[in-house]
Each structure stands twice: as structure tokens, then as C-alpha cells.
């Protein structure tokens, strides 16, 4: 019996080492070479995609890349032709605390949020962005805007993503766009994106009044694809907001929103469960915790939505839950395993250094849980969880709206110190 236990523990330690080894090549120089080659590949794929477009399309898909210290909250209103005012939020608010100056190109009506030590709070009743009725364009949907890039958890018809929608592209152009995605993402990440799009497609086939389905997914390129200068690709639609900033050897995918509705759907006669690993790996970690640890990890209150969704870039809330410093090595490995579901969406050359950042702060990383401790097999659970550390925020938030929360989930993935790669995109 003891021998079996010994063998099992040796094997599991080996497996953990193997896993850790696999997600980061040992030497930094290997990293840099890999990353440089990776960036070259992505830039080539982006250029190839741009080359398939006509002049008008190129104009629509290309934007300036304007590095800012922080993102802003963007509000959008529906236009009379039931579209939305393109790319132009009706009001916005800087999202950072007292230290940050107002963002360079915040549209008029920009209003500072948070402690206004450096600026006066807006007048009661709202400023120009305060959107009185008959007082100019009112705000409505909320998205997060960084420079010219915008993403949200609302459908594309509510918060328009800048760029070209897949539905407007020819087959060849679409293939080139998907190839660009594939060049940036790991096989796991690319499959995840396809699963999310498939889920939205299934939703659209039930008939929705808003823009949903694969055709609505939008690609935008900010700045010139380059091997060494910072630029950005945004890809998303309903339940997906990928923001990838590439700067030389660095590739950063924070912030990213993933989600699914329905979480389980049929594709080619097979059942697909979207974000299944995010769900199952978190339950695996929870199962591994002992009674005392669970007491700390499990919050005594309900969390019914994302706390740090669109509009909360750079915010660090007071952490709660079980600190990883109180976890054993196996539990820590399981925690990293959960995190890798987001950090590993990008190609390994970018994901490796990212996991290093997360690991460096692992002991100060918290795991918090709210909701049932089990889930039905073949389904996601209805429990919320949050992972929060010095360099990471992950929230997994089943949406209990209008029915089964196991069938609808939103997640957010951030680096509060480095959303949009501010550390090396020239903003800081």
C-alpha cells in the first residue's frame, strides 16, 4: 500500500515537473528566440491578411495604435438605422486612480472615475456624457476602449467592435483572417475561440434580434504589423474579446473576455462543452482543498456577475479567499493549471513568460469560490470563482439570467499592471 502511494506521488510530482517544464522552456534566450520568431510569423500573417483586402476594406480594418496608460469606459448608443455610432463612444471615463493623467485622446465628455484627487468630480446630473434626454446622444451599452480598440460582453450590434466583420469577407479573406488568429494562438487557444464562436452561432440560429453568430466576429488591426514596434490585434464578438498587443519579443493577451451561451451545443452530431476545462480544472482544485482551506476559499456570499468586466482596466480590488501560500505544491500546480487555460490561449512563446510572471507572484495569489461545490457531469457548474494575484485577475462568472446559469458564462482575464501591454507598448 505504502509502495503504491510512493509510486503515485513520485509519478504525480514527475507529471507536475513535466507540465511545468512543458509550459516554459528552461533558458531565457530560447524564449527570446522563440518569441522573436513568433512575432515575425504573426506579423507576416497579418500582412498577408491585409494583402487580401481591397483599399476600402484595408481602411476599415486598420487603425492607429495609440498607446495609453489606461483604458476608458466607452458608452455607445444605437443609431436610427439600428446600428451603433461607429467607433465613437458618447461618453467615456478614465478608469485609473489619482496618479494617472487623463488619457491622451479621451473623447469629449470624458469623466474621471475613482478618487478624483487630481480632478474635480463631474457636476450632479452628469456632464456632457451625462446624457440627459434631448441633451445630445445618450450613453447605453458599456464597453472598454483602449485607443481606437473597443470590446465588450454585449453583442456586436450593441457595442460595435472596430474593424471588419467576418461576414463581410470573401472565403479567401476569411481564411487569411483565421490564419492570423491561428498564428497568434496555441492550438488549445484557437480551438477555444472556435468553440466560443460555434456556441454563438448556435445561439444565433435560434433567432436573436442582435448581431450574433460567426459572421459578426470582427477583426481589427491597430498599428502596422511589425517585428519590433508595438501593434495590436483585436478579435471578438458576443462572448469574446481578444486583445493581443505584440511588441518585439512580447505578446500580451490581457485583457481578454471569453464566454459562452449556450455552454453546451451540438456540432457535427457531437456535443461541445465550451470553457469545459476552465470549469473542470477549477473543480479539481476545489476538490483537492482540505476543510480548513475550503473555509477560506469559499465566500459566504453570492457573486452574480463579473466584478472587473469591461471598464475596469488596471483596477485591483481587495483580494479574498484562500492564499496560494497556504496551498501545498500539488494544489499550487492545479491552480496554475486553471490559470493556464487563459494564459495558454496565446502561442507558447508568449505564454511561457506570462506563466513565469504569474508564478513569481503565486504565493500572493488568491483563489475564491462562491456557489455549489459540485457540478453535473457533462455540464459546467453554476459557481463563480476568482483568481487574483499581483499580475493576474481571472473571474469565471456563470450568468443566472433568464434560466440555467450552467448554460451561460462570462469570464475575464487581466493583468492589472499590464493590460494592453502598457509595460512595453510605449505608454509608460
Amino acid at each position: 500500500m505504502q509502495r503504491i502511494a510512493l509510486v503515485a506521488s513520485v509519478l504525480s510530482v514527475g507529471a507536475i515537473c513535466g507540465y511545468l517544464g512543458a509550459i516554459h522552456p528552461a533558458a531565457n534566450s530560447v524564449h527570446n528566440e522563440d518569441a522573436a520568431a513568433q512575432t515575425k510569423q504573426v506579423a507576416q500573417a497579418a500582412t498577408a491578411f491585409l494583402n487580401t483586402l481591397n483599399a476600402e476594406q484595408r481602411q476599415k480594418v486598420s487603425f492607429e495604435f495609440t498607446p495609453q496608460k489606461t483604458a476608458v469606459i466607452a458608452r455607445f448608443h444605437r443609431t436610427s438605422d439600428s446600428g451603433v455610432a461607429p467607433g465613437a463612444p458618447t461618453a467615456s471615463a478614465a478608469m485609473k486612480g489619482p496618479a494617472s493623467p487623463p488619457p491622451g485622446n479621451a473623447p469629449d465628455g470624458g469623466k474621471r472615475m475613482g478618487p478624483p484627487n487630481g480632478g474635480k468630480p463631474g457636476p450632479p446630473g452628469g456632464g456632457p456624457g451625462g446624457s440627459g434626454f434631448g441633451m445630445g446622444p445618450p450613453g447605453g451599452f458599456v464597453g472598454e476602449q483602449y485607443g481606437k480598440a473597443v470590446w465588450s460582453n454585449y453583442p456586436v450590434s450593441d457595442v460595435l467592435r472596430p474593424g471588419l466583420q467576418l461576414g463581410s469577407l470573401s472565403v479567401a479573406q476569411r481564411d487569411a483572417a483565421m490564419h492570423l488568429l491561428q498564428s497568434m494562438l496555441s492550438p488549445m487557444g484557437y480551438q477555444k475561440v472556435l468553440d466560443i464562436m460555434g456556441s454563438d452561432q448556435a445561439l444565433s440560429e435560434t433567432g436573436q434580434p442582435f448581431c450574433s453568430g460567426t459572421a459578426c466576429y470582427t477583426v481589427g488591426i491597430f498599428g502596422e504589423p511589425s517585428d519590433n514596434k508595438p501593434w495590436m490585434v483585436e478579435f471578438g464578438g458576443h462572448h469574446l474579446g481578444l486583445n493581443i498587443v505584440i511588441a518585439g519579443n512580447n505578446g500580451v493577451m490581457t485583457p481578454t473576455l471569453t464566454g459562452a451561451q449556450p455552454s453546451v451545443y451540438q456540432r457535427d452530431g457531437k456535443s461541445v462543452r465550451v470553457l469545459a476545462q476552465e470549469n473542470d480544472k477549477a473543480f479539481a482544485l476545489l476538490d483537492e482543498l482540505d476543510g480548513t482551506q475550503r473555509k477560506q476559499a469559499i465566500l459566504n456570499y453570492e457573486v452574480d456577475d463579473l466584478v472587473l468586466g469591461p471598464g475596469h482596466a488596471g483596477e485591483q480590488i481587495q483580494p479574498e479567499g484562500l492564499k496560494a501560500s497556504a496551498m501545498n505544491d500539488r494544489q499550487k500546480a492545479l491552480l496554475l493549471d486553471v490559470i493556464a487555460e487563459w494564459a495558454g490561449i496565446v502561442q507558447s512563446a508568449y505564454a511561457g513568460p506570462r506563466m513565469e510572471e504569474v508564478k513569481a507572484g503565486l504565493n500572493d495569489t488568491y483563489f475564491a469560490w462562491s456557489g455549489p461545490m459540485t457540478h453535473r457531469p457533462g455540464q459546467n457548474g453554476s459557481s463563480y470563482y476568482r483568481i487574483q494575484g499581483p499580475r493576474i485577475v481571472i473571474e469565471f462568472s456563470p450568468q443566472g439570467v433568464g434560466g440555467d446559469s450552467t448554460m451561460h458564462v462570462h469570464t475575464i482575464y487581466r493583468d492589472p499592471t499590464n493590460d494592453y501591454g502598457v509595460k512595453f507598448n510605449g505608454a509608460e
Binding site: 468630480p121 452628469g126 450613453g139 447605453g140 451561451q261 475596469h312 480590488i317 481587495q318
Partner: protein, 433 residues
């Protein structure tokens, strides 16, 4: 038929939009930025599609289908009135900073987000503070979220956070540099806990009122179910010392027991019992309920108050040796503050008790305590403040003023009494009949 059509229309609306957005809930997500001297908050309010019509109707006071800037502003003020931000039990005044509204159409679809920003001043004092945020806006349909940002000021730390199940109640411990933490040196830990104890009594209106109410009849003698005549100064003093000591013994015992986790009781019933203890001692001050046994009553009510002290101490969140130091320091702080209050009020009380005005004073004071304790009982049972309890809370801010008024009026009463003596000398004891 009309009803069927309406049902169909509602169903159509629900079935087409339900899949994307919040349905039958009113999401209210608040993020607090706490910095030394101030709290800023941003609140996102998103009424779901099934409740939006009701929310819109409550904003659109003239029912013209349009939300005017004035209506928006009034709604924002109404939301603010449903919020409570308290520092160490004291309500803070909320200032509306900005309001942003979506269109009525967006709200009807369940996708419109209202955003309110507001702020409050935090009286800047070093040490440890409890900040409580409560949101009771539209409690029947609402989903609440509340979180605090990590302060930008490194000298301010957020410690223990607690919430109730639906997050309508949120409490966070603020520790400014120099306060009690587990890391701090024993002496500063003791001092910090001592200060916490002093503050707990100084700001704990209910504990103070209980003590003072119990002292009210101390200079008097109970005869045949009424307060008749007064005892000697020596007897009064003995009586007061006995009451205060008994109260101290009682609450020290339970504070120590629960401070070390040996006794654990939910705070709500304890708080209700404390209010009841004030009511009982107020009635006793009007008509003697337990003459001569004040000390025993004080000791047993002390047991209850001790449980409440312990919950304040729990917020220190320290263990082991520091826990011992904290319990000791905290209790010392409570005693010192109690003695200070007794020392300040006692001479005035004794002086006043030698006059014929004492009866009126005693009845007035006891009636006030009656009203206050009833308001507190209601507040603590319903978990919701009422105008009376709020009024008392604001009155309590002027503690020093009240003490001065007591002194001046007792001096005036004594002087008038002195003149009366000249006119008609007689037994002072008669004035209590």
C-alpha cells in the same frame, strides 16, 4: 383577450432578449475607492428586462416616457438615500458626484446601464476603523455586488472584509499606519487595542446610554415600588461603584470568553439584547424594578455587552499572544473610558439629585432612554435604520456639549435650590415625594 396579448407580447420580448441579458434582476455593482480622508464610489445599475418597466416608472415621476435631467437627478438622490456608509458606526454624508443615464429604450431591453458616482469624507484619524457600506435600494429585485479597490496610499491597508449573503451589507476594516496589526510590537499592540476600547465606548452610544441610565436612580431610595427620597452621598457613591464594578466584571468575563473563541454568538441577537437592556434600565429609572439589586442586573447585562465588545475586537483578527494583549488592552480602554464618563457626569448628577428638579430630570432622561432603546430594537430587528435611531446617532456626536449642558444646568438648579432654602428651609428629601 387583452391579457393574453400582453402575455404573448411579454413572452416574445423575454424569449428574444432573455438569452443575452439580465432578466428579472436589478444589478447594482459598487466599487469603493478608499483613501485617507475620503471614500469615492462608482455604482453601476442595470435593471433587467423584466423589471426595467417598474424601475423606469419609478424614475419617470411625471409619466411622460422621458427621463428628464431633473428626474434623473432625483432618482440618483433617492438611490443615495437607500445607501448607508458608516465609519465606526457613524453615518457619513454621501455627496453625489455624477449621474449617467442610458436611453429609456436601452433600459427597456435590459441593457441600459445607469452609473452613479458619489463620495464621502472620512474623518482622518490614524488607527483602525470599520467601514460599513449598505445598499437597500429596491431590495426585492436587486442583485448587489460591492468591492473595494486596494488603496493607492500605501499607509492605508484594508483588512478583514465581511458581507452578508446577498452583499447588501459590506464591512471592511481600515488600518492606517500605526494601528494594531499582528506584526506590531507588543506595546503598540496594547496601546492600539486600548485606544480601540476607548473609542468603542466613546462612540458606542448604546453602551454609554445603558451605563448612564443605570446610574440615574443611584442617588435615590426605593420605597414601596417608587423612588422616594435620596440616600447620602456616601451611599450613592458606594452604589455607583458597585454598579460600575459589576458591569465591568460581567463584560470582562464574556469579552475574555469570546475574545478567545470559547463563546460565539451571532451579533444581531446580541445587539437587540443590548437595546433591551437599556429599555429595562430606563424603566427601572422611572419605577424601581429591581431596587437594591442594580449590581446583579448590571453584571448580567454586562455579560451581554461583553459579547458585543468581543465582536468589535474580532475585527483585529489577531491570534495567540497578540490576542491576549488585545483583549487586555481593549478591556482596559473600555474601563478607562467608562470611568472617565462616570467621573465627568457623577458630580453633576449628585448635585442635581440634591435639588427638587432631579425627579423631572430623571423622568426625562429615562424617557429618552426608553425611546432610544425602542428605536434601536426596531432598527436591529429589521436590520434597517429609522429616523429616531439616526437622530440619536447624530445627537451623540455632541457628547461634550451634552456634558457641559448637564453641568451648567445642575449648577443652576443648585443655585435656585440654595435660594429656596433661604425662603423655606425644609427637608430636601421631601422634594422627591
Amino acid at each position: 383577450m387583452k391579457r393574453i396579448l400582453m402575455t404573448l407580447a411579454l413572452f416574445g420580448l423575454v424569449s428574444t432578449t432573455a438569452l443575452a441579458h439580465r432578466l428579472d434582476e436589478y444589478l447594482q455593482a459598487t466599487i469603493l475607492s478608499i483613501e485617507p480622508g475620503s471614500v469615492h464610489a462608482v455604482m453601476r445599475l442595470v435593471p433587467g428586462v423584466a423589471v426595467a418597466a417598474g424601475v423606469i416608472a419609478s424614475i419617470d415621476s411625471n409619466h411622460d416616457g422621458v427621463l428628464s435631467p431633473d428626474e434623473q437627478h432625483r432618482y440618483a438622490e433617492r438611490v443615495l438615500a437607500d445607501l448607508q456608509l458608516k465609519e465606526d458606526g457613524r453615518s457619513l454624508l454621501l455627496h453625489l458626484a455624477s449621474v449617467t443615464f442610458p436611453t429609456v429604450d436601452h433600459m427597456k431591453m435590459g441593457t441600459g446601464e445607469i452609473e452613479l458616482a458619489f463620495s464621502a469624507d472620512l474623518p482622518a484619524v490614524r488607527g483602525e476603523h470599520q467601514l460599513v457600506f449598505e445598499n437597500h435600494h429596491q431590495r426585492g429585485i436587486s442583485v448587489y455586488l460591492v468591492n473595494s479597490l486596494v488603496p493607492q496610499d500605501k499607509n492605508l491597508q484594508l483588512e478583514a472584509q465581511s458581507r452578508n449573503q446577498n452583499q447588501s451589507f459590506y464591512q471592511v476594516t481600515l488600518a492606517e499606519a500605526g494601528s494594531v496589526t499582528a506584526q506590531s510590537f507588543t506595546w503598540s499592540g496594547l496601546a492600539g487595542a486600548f485606544h480601540l476600547g476607548v473609542r468603542h465606548i466613546a462612540e458606542g452610544t448604546d453602551h454609554l446610554l445603558f451605563l448612564l441610565t443605570l446610574l440615574l436612580p443611584a442617588p435615590l431610595l426605593a420605597l414601596a415600588g417608587r423612588w422616594k427620597g435620596r440616600t447620602t452621598v456616601r451611599n450613592s457613591l458606594t452604589q455607583i461603584v458597585r454598579i460600575v464594578t459589576a458591569f465591568t466584571l460581567g463584560h470582562s468575563l464574556t469579552l475574555a470568553l469570546s475574545g478567545f473563541g470559547l463563546v460565539r454568538l451571532p451579533s444581531q441577537p446580541v445587539e437587540v439584547l443590548i437595546a433591551v437592556s437599556i429599555l429595562v434600565s430606563a424603566i427601572h429609572a422611572i419605577r424601581p424594578l429591581f431596587p437594591g439589586r442594580e449590581a446583579i442586573i448590571a453584571a448580567s447585562f454586562g455579560l451581554i455587552h461583553g459579547l458585543s465588545f468581543a465582536s468589535a475586537l474580532n475585527e483585529l483578527g489577531v491570534t495567540g499572544w497578540y490576542r491576549l494583549i488585545s483583549v487586555l488592552g481593549f478591556n482596559l480602554g473600555i474601563e478607562v473610558m467608562q470611568l472617565a464618563v462616570v467621573t465627568v457626569t457623577l458630580p453633576a448628577l449628585l448635585l442635581l439629585s440634591r435639588t427638587r428638579f432631579y425627579s423631572a430630570f430623571r423622568i426625562t432622561g429615562a424617557s429618552f432612554a426608553c425611546v432610544a432603546s425602542c428605536a434601536w430594537i426596531v432598527e436591529r430587528v429589521l436590520d434597517e435604520p429609522n429616523p429616531i435611531s439616526q437622530g440619536i446617532e447624530s445627537l451623540a456626536h455632541h457628547g461634550v456639549m451634552l456634558a457641559i449642558v448637564l453641568w451648567v444646568s445642575s449648577a443652576v438648579a443648585w443655585m435656585i435650590q440654595g435660594q429656596d432654602h433661604l425662603v423655606s428651609p425644609g427637608s430636601a428629601a421631601a422634594y422627591e415625594r
